[in-house]
Structure formats: C-alpha cells, structure tokens
C-alpha cells in the first residue's frame, strides 16, 4: 500500500500547513514512502484485543480547584507576537468564516 503519491504529499502538506518547494515535495514523497514501507511490518503484528497505550504510566486525571491565577499583563501577552496592534494580535484578513 503506502508508497505515497505526489497528490497525497500535497494533501498532507496542506493539512499540516507546510509550504514545500517542488523539489522538497519530491524528496518528501520518496523519503516518506521508504519510511512507510518500513512500517508495513506493523500490520502483521496481531494486536487483536490489545488495549492501546495512551499513557505510559496508568493514572487518573487530577482535577484542579477552580481558582483564578494571575493573568499575563496584556503587553507581555502580545510582546512576542510578530505582528500586534496595541493589545491585539494581527493576522491577514480572514476570508470566509470560521473553521470549526
């Protein structure tokens, strides 16, 4: 199966919001294809009924008391932003609607 098509590479790059130069995409297709080939072995492992490990050490979620802590001063919150106007982060105009 794997061996990625160029179209798949482009789709994944789009999903991951990564710009790839054409030669980069070509190389990616080749390298990822080889890595994915290596993963084929996994399909043969019998994992029927084996639980997926999502936490290395089994534990329950600790709950935090609902007590507000300090907020960052606004100037500090936006300080590291590549673009900000006064107290707001600035991005190019959002065309169309939300994405959720």
């Amino acid at each position: 199966m794997p061996q990625l098509t160029r179209k798949e590479v482009d789709e994944i790059a789009m999903l991951a919001r990564l710009h790839l130069e054409p030669d980069e995409a070509k190389r990616m297709q080749d390298e990822l294809g080889k890595i994915l080939d290596h993963f084929l072995a996994l399909a043969t492992v019998d994992t029927e009924g084996v639980p997926a490990m999502t936490h290395a050490v089994p534990m329950d979620l600790r709950l935090r008391a609902d007590e507000p802590g300090p907020s960052l001063p606004t100037s500090e919150a936006v300080r590291a932003a590549p673009a900000h106007a006064a107290d707001l982060f600035v991005v190019p105009a959002i065309i169309g609607g939300g994405d959720k």
């Binding site: 979620l61 600790r62 935090r64 609902d66 907020s71 960052l72 606004t74 982060f89 959002i94």
Partner: protein, 485 residues
C-alpha cells in the same frame, strides 16, 4: 413565491442542534487564567492560554462538576472513564492549533431534554454532551483581522440533539428549555448576546413519507432565540425550493446573517478539514467516581419541567402561568415559599396571579429582579390571606400591596392602621344601601324600568359611602334585593 406553511404540506424538515454552553467557572478549563466577560482585549491570558511552548493543561474540577450536573439533569449515561481528545485545525483564534475536546468518549450520552410545547411536554433526545474549551475571537478589520484570546480556554459543554426536531419553532423552544435548565442549575449564565450560549443547526428536508434523510447543511452563528427560528425557516424554505426546482442540496456550512435575514455558504463539507482527532497525551482519563456523582446528585434541585408539572397538577395553574413561574428558578422558589406560607390548597392560582401581575409589575417598574423584591413571599401570602378571608376587598388589597411593597410594612398592620377592613355585616350594609337608593330616586326608577347599566352606579355609590370597604358580593346581593331585580 409559495409560502413556507404550504410547502410543509409535502416536505418534512429534520433538524438537529449542536449547542455550545459556556460553563460558569472562575478560571479557564485547562489553565488558572481568569474568566470574565467584557475585560480589555488579551488581558485574560497566561502562557497556557497563549499556547506557549512547554505549557500543559490541568483540568478544572468545577467545569467537570457543572457538566455532570447537566448530564444528570438530562438523565444521560455518564461515562465513568472518559478521555479528552485533540481536534486539530488552524485558525488564529485557536492558539495551540488544536482544541481540547472529547471525541469518541464523551462525558454524557443518551440523555433527553423535555420542552414545553403548547402546554405539553415534548421529549427531545440528546446524543451526547461533551466537554471542550472555547476559542478566542477574531475581529475583522479590513485588510487585517485582530485576535483577542480572552475567551480562549473558557470551558464549554457541547450539547448535541438527535436529528428529530421537526420545526423551527420546536428548535427555538429547545433552546429556551436548555437556556432555562442551565441557568436553573447554575451551570451557565447562558446569555446569548454575550456568546455564552451558541447554536449551530443541522437542517435537512425530505418528502413526507420518505424514510431516508435528505442532504443536510449546517447553519452557524445563530445567536438569539429569534434567529434560531428565522435562520432555520429560511434554510428549510431554501432547501425545498432548490429541490422543487430539481436541484440538489450541497452539504456545506452556511453562516446566518441576521441583519440581512439570509445565509451564505462558508465552505463545502466535501473538502472539509480532517480534524485528526487523537487522545490528548497530556491528559489522563477523566474519572467520575461514586463520591463525585453522589455530590452532584445530592445537590440536584427539582428541575424546571418537574416544577411545571407539579404546578399544573397540585395547584391547577394555567400552563402559561406555570411556564412563566419556571422561567426563573428564583421566581419559582418565591412562588413555592409563598404557597408554603399560605394555608389551603386552592391558594396556588391566586398567588400565581398576584405574583405574576402585581409583584412582577412593580418589580419591572423598579427594574428589580425577584431576588431583589422588597416584599418577601411570606408577606405576599399574608396579604392574600386577608383578601381570601374577606378582611379586605381585592381592590383594597391592591392598595395595601402597593403600600407594603413601598414601605415594607406588614399588610395586616397597614389594614389596621388605615381601617380598611371590608364591611361584610349585612345589617350595616343594608343601611347604606337604603340611604343610597333613597338619595337617588330617579336612578332607582330608571333601573326599575330596565336600565341595567345603572346597577354599577349604585355599587359605586355604596363603595363611595363606605370608602370602598363594602364587601362587593354582599353589596350586590343587597342592591338586587332593594332595587327589586
């Protein structure tokens, strides 16, 4: 153009709602950053909210408690061990590039919510209620957009109904019922104008009698009860017209524009984002144990629809009055306290009347809420007892109410001081009737000749002579007797 009601003879709308409700916590879902509406932009953030490298989520206990309260109140199945999942999408209001949400292991499933439709209860099934965090806000400003992350990370529940809502009216009623319930339980302020409760609607139509569901569209940005109804009606009509025109419905997300009363396509679902859900490795499973559940159950009050049914059954209230009383938990509690202070079973209707007209009228005029009422329920009850046992007339009662409301003096004290006790003594009233009729012979003659309208004149004269204290029922009897008909 054909009007919607006619179209609905042949077409059946199928509606499902996804409602986001902000939970009334003091701090955010996964960070201690404070929650407050209307704070200056980006003043309620911290490194976690900003999604800074190295930050990690720690979940807010109260958010879980509030969500469980809703789960229990909707008789949902509660998941004993559930997971948070990451939902990925890139958007400026989403600082981490993913939203912490729940996917295949929601907190609550298979619940229901009862609506009051035309005085009856109608049950809407809930597929799920899950926890997630809110996004920030994008503010559109010409060539640029601005991002305010104050709201980012506020805890939310998403309530998803089964696709079984049959009309826009029912959808709006669902929103009202949910709004009432979450406010009743202190889960959320649920102010739609503040975005504390928001609705997306999935709408499809099919020919009546057809089993298969039609292609659905998702309507977003519906932020008032009225818009719910308008937006859905508009969408139903749009879909029916397209289908009758031989066109097909495109599965897409549409944004409701309330100002122009129309919707526009946001994006096609066919090229939808792939959210790449996976269990959040930063958050071990949420465990709802017996102690936690016991606490939630112990604190759960009688629910609004339960009150509604009780008001109908125990006090014979009109459905509209009962519905009005349960619109606000404090109002319902006021009513219950007044009833409790009042002897007798038949008093419920009277209390409801006075509460909903006199007291709410006075409070409205003063821009006060029921919690701020200067007249406690026991006092209203006391006043109504004076009316009921004939000590004062209803008309006098309203004056006493006004004075007691204004001064805070007990009604019985005011009645005593003003000497406005009703005169029900027949002999005493007979004397007054004699005097009034004797003093107005022409009118008595005209009445005898069939001028019925004059009866009120005599009642008025008796009232005038007694400063309004005459018992109106006895007065009427005696006048009929004296005037001969």
């Amino acid at each position: 153009m054909t009007e919607l009601p006619e179209l609905l003879d042949q077409w059946e709308p199928v509606i499902g709602l996804e409602v986001h409700v902000q939970l009334a916590t003091r701090s955010k879902a996964f960070s201690p950053s404070a929650v407050r509406f209307g704070a200056p932009s980006n003043s309620l953030t911290d490194p976690i909210v900003l999604g800074m490298p190295g930050t990690l989520p720690a979940f807010n206990r109260h958010a879980l408690e509030l969500a469980l309260r809703l789960g229990v109140a909707t008789e949902s199945k509660i998941r004993a061990r559930g997971r948070f999942a990451r939902k990925h999408y890139f958007y400026p209001d989403q600082p981490k590039g993913y939203q912490i949400s729940q996917y295949d292991e929601p907190l609550c499933e298979d619940g229901h919510l009862d609506l009051i439709l035309a005085g009856d209860l109608r049950r809407v099934r809930l597929q799920r209620i899950h926890l997630e965090e809110d996004a920030g806000k994008n503010i559109h400003a010409g060539a640029f957009s601005h991002v305010d992350l104050n709201r980012a990370g506020v805890p939310l529940v998403e309530v998803v109904t089964a696709p079984e809502i049959a009309s826009s009216e029912e959808a709006a009623e669902f929103m009202r019922a949910l709004h009432r319930l979450v406010r009743w339980l202190g889960i959320s302020e649920a102010d739609m104008e503040k975005g504390q409760m928001r609705c997306d609607a999935n709408v499809s139509v099919r020919r009546r009698g057809e089993d298969r569901l039609g292609t659905r569209t998702e309507l977003k940005n519906i932020n008032s009860f009225r818009f719910v109804q308008n937006a859905i009606d508009h969408e139903i009509a749009r879909q029916i017209r397209l289908l009758e025109d031989g066109q097909r419905i495109v599965q897409e997300t549409r944004l409701w524009d309330a100002e122009r009363s129309t919707s526009e396509s946001m994006r096609s679902k066919e090229t939808a984002e792939d959210y790449r859900y996976f269990p959040d490795p930063d958050l071990p499973p949420v465990v709802v144990d017996a102690t936690l559940m016991a606490g939630i159950l112990r604190a759960l009050p009688e629910l609004p629809t339960q009150c509604f049914v009780r008001y109908l059954k125990s006090y014979g209230l009109a459905a509209d009055d009962a519905r009005m009383l349960i619109s606000d938990r404090a109002l319902s509690e006021y009513f219950d306290a007044a009833v409790k202070a009042h002897p007798g079973d038949s008093s419920g209707r009277m209390i409801a009347n006075w509460l909903l007209t006199e007291l709410l009228g006075a409070l409205n005029a003063d821009a006060k809420t029921i919690e701020e009422s200067p007249m406690p329920p026991e006092r209203l009850s006391e006043l109504l007892r004076l009316v009921e046992d004939g000590t004062i007339s209803g008309k006098i009662g309203k004056e006493i109410f006004a004075e007691s409301y204004r001064t805070g003096e007990p009604p019985s004290v005011i009645v005593e001081r003003r000497g406005v006790q009703q005169i029900s003594d027949e002999a005493a009233l007979w004397e007054v009737v004699e005097q009034v009729v004797g003093a107005n012979p022409k009118q008595a003659e005209a009445y005898g000749a069939g001028k019925d309208g004059l009866f009120g004149f005599f009642v008025g004269q008796v009232m005038k002579a007694t400063n309004g204290r005459a018992n109106p029922v006895i007065t009427s009897d005696l006048l009929h007797k004296r005037l001969g008909r």
